[in-house]
């Protein structure tokens, strides 16, 4: 059965083709069956393959399908590589992906472009599977750009609103900055090591480069550039909140569970390269730490339900980067998996809330939804608990591992540890701020919901994701063969208690503000310092403002002064010359037969003369 691993991306790809070629002429229930069914089939296949792979006890499995292109020694192929890491990724993508597809059949039911939506979704799943299963960096890059394209198409799904188009372009352009760096990294690796097969490349790197080699550092830095772009980490994080312009299932699938974690996957996949460049690995940790803190502070001030979740996603990916940076590879992937469960749950639940309130996204226009929307309420409760690492939920186990690993690191480990704990504290506050404001207090909705939106196809995935968010922490994932036996870190019981208590304190503070109303936000906001901070954080630490001034405005200015386009002038000249020559020659075409006959006669005379003379 493992031979059939190529079926995984094939099913969604066929689904995409079927939906695209019929271009919306199929009835909606057929579209739903094709769209969700193809991913479901992928999941079934993936589950069977996973069971067999684990039973076989092999470390890895390669299936060569065909050679993509052959240029001299450079022969990247459509070859699939399965090991513990790609196993986890493929199960998350197809499993969570299937649940989200199912949810979307209900969520998008009233949309006129139903078929287009599912065709993009299927294409995305196919590309994402290609990304995680490819055995060479070229195939990985194909998937990488494929998911970027689908992200662009789906953010701008409701393209009639120009704001959505802007958000889509922004996401595309900003991630493209990172992708360019990554492409350069690929060129460098190929030029130096002569192969882009990931495993061969890593072995060659280990043999040829000693730790701290300049080329290793450069290659790792360039790959990191791609990773921060895709995973919305500092300094390329600005696109993620705007990406929330897309439909909510997209936010759950692409911008929470799968695509944004591709950067984490890339770093974990090439971890040997990062171990050869310790300075870059340290940079990964710092990027993760700073991003998780910045995003945490921003999330405190947002009022759009999806934006809060977007910043929370950014912050959680920061934790994954932190884990990778301190060398806790499996902890990072573990957090990736649990995060996929609970963040998909939160996004889907927020989708139900938004639809029940007739497309209201402002949390201050919600309130008191606990009784009206019971499924969303429990989804949010469990998702929020997992997100804040409440003991024995899935998020607790994964975040625990990361923080303990950071604690065990020499040097700046303590900074990472306390920074991570501070991030967990912020997570507790902003998550339960959202929770209390939306589900408790008084109803401030313009159109209070009569009943919860959605049938079994929307509530079923929510319930399954609730279960996964609760028990996901007990899954044992087979990563030891990939990353080597990781060293066990331990912290004292006191430290452990501290780690557990801090998020709970955050929840408590949130409850004091927004549930018990012991403290009041208005009083807190009275000081001018608080107002300035609020404004600053609300605008995302002013990154958009800064980038506009540093990159966008100079570019637009340059475009404006070069409106005539100097380079283009040269080519315009060629056009002018040929046009002038044409207008001269066109005069010979008089339309008189005698003129043509004369030309022929004259031509013959000239030819005969030349022939005779020679």
């Amino acid at each position: 059965m493992q031979e059939f691993i190529w079926l995984l991306p094939t099913y969604p790809l066929l689904g995409f083709l079927a939906l695209v070629l019929t271009s919306g002429r199929l009835p909606k229930n057929i579209v739903a069956i094709i769209g969700a069914g193809s991913v479901g089939l992928s999941f079934l296949t993936a589950a069977i393959i996973a069971a067999q792979f684990l039973a076989s006890g092999e470390d890895y499995f390669v299936k060569e399908v065909w050679t993509w292109m052959a240029v001299g020694d450079f022969t990247p192929g459509f070859n699939f590589y399965l090991d513990g890491l790609s196993l986890v990724m493929m199960l998350v993508i197809t499993g969570v992906g299937f649940l989200i597809h199912m949810y979307a059949t209900g969520y998008m039911a009233d949309d006129p472009s139903y078929s287009r939506f599912f065709s993009y979704m299927n294409l995305f799943v196919a590309a994402m599977l290609m990304l995680v299963l490819g055995d060479n960096l070229v195939l990985l890059y194909l998937g990488w750009e494929g998911v970027g394209l689908c992200s662009y198409l789906l953010i701008g799904f409701w393209y009639t609103n120009p704001d959505n188009g802007y958000a889509a372009r922004k996401a595309f352009v900003v991630t493209r900055v990172g992708d360019t760096a990554m492409a350069l990294g690929l060129f460098l690796l190929f030029a130096e090591l002569g192969t882009l097969n990931i495993q061969d490349m890593l072995h060659a790197a280990e043999l040829e480069w000693e730790v701290g080699n300049g080329l290793a550092v450069a290659a790792a830095l360039l790959l990191l550039g791609g990773a921060v772009g895709k995973s919305a980490q500092l300094p390329l994080q600005t696109w993620l909140p705007d990406a929330m312009a897309g439909p909510t299932p997209i936010s759950a699938l692409i911008h929470a569970a799968t695509m944004v974690t591709a950067g984490v996957y890339l770093i974990a996949r090439t971890h040997i390269l990062f171990e050869l460049a310790p300075s870059v690995q340290m940079l990964v940790a710092w990027i993760g730490l700073i991003t998780l803190l910045l995003a945490g502070f921003i999330a405190l001030t947002q009022s759009d339900i999806k934006r809060i979740l977007a910043f929370s996603t950014m912050s959680q990916i920061g934790y994954m980067f932190l884990a990778l940076g301190v060398g806790a590879w499996s902890a990072g992937i573990f957090h990736l998996m649990t995060h996929a469960f609970f963040k998909a749950l939160l996004f889907l639940a927020s989708g139900s809330v938004i639809l029940s309130l007739h497309h209201e996204q402002d949390i201050f226009k919600m309130g008191a939804l606990r009784k009206k929307l019971p499924v969303s309420f429990f989804s949010f409760l469990i998702g929020s608990l997992a997100l804040t690492a409440f003991p024995f939920t899935s998020g607790y186990f994964s975040k625990d591992e990361i923080l303990i690993a950071a604690h065990g690191l020499e040097g700046p480990g303590m900074i990472f540890f306390f920074g991570g704990v501070l991030g967990a504290f912020l997570t507790g506050i902003y998550t339960f701020r959202l929770f209390f404001i939306v589900f408790f207090g008084e109803s401030k909705a313009a159109h209070p919901p009569e009943k919860e939106y959605g049938g079994w196809n929307m509530n079923g995935p929510l319930i399954l994701l609730m279960i996964l968010s609760l028990v996901g922490g007990f899954f044992a994932i087979p990563l030891d063969a990939v990353f080597g036996q990781h060293e066990e870190h331990h912290v004292s019981t006191l430290m452990h208690g501290f780690m557990i208590a801090v998020p709970l304190i955050g929840i408590g503070i949130s409850a004091a503000f927004f549930y018990f109303k012991i403290w009041s936000v208005e009083k807190l906001m009275a000081s001018s310092l608080a107002q300035t901070l609020h404004k600053f954080w609300h605008s995302g630490w002013g990154f958009d403002w800064l980038y506009d001034r540093v990159f966008v405005f100079p570019f637009l200015w340059l475009a404006r002064i070069n409106k005539a386009d100097l380079v283009d002038g040269f080519y315009a000249l060629i056009v002018e010359i040929s046009r002038a020559a044409n207008s001269m020659i066109v005069k010979t075409q008089t339309g008189y037969i005698r003129w043509y006959a004369l030309s022929i006669a004259a031509g013959v005379v000239v030819l005969i003369t030349v022939g005779v003379m020679l």
């Binding site: 075409q589 339309g591 008189y592 006959a597 006669a601």
Partner: protein, 102 residues
Amino acid sequence: MESIPVEHGLILAAILFSIGLIGVLTRRNIVFVLMSLEIMLNAGGLAFIVAAARWGHAEGQIMFLMILTLAAAEVAVGLGLIIQMFRRYKTVDINVLSEMKG
């Protein structure tokens, strides 16, 4: 019988050809253009006959028979076209047909 020198025959053919060509180039009446074309074809045929007589080969005469057939066919098609042209334009002035100018 003294045979006619080959040069005389060829010069006659060249004169005939030139007369035909000048006719094609200068006449505006399409009927005369067609007649001039016939003269040119016959000039070509004459050249073949003269050459065949000079070297005593039969191919030249065969070629002349072919040219004759060709000229007959050409006249049939040409006259048909002229009739069509006259029906459409009510004239046989060839300069009217210059609509295809660049």
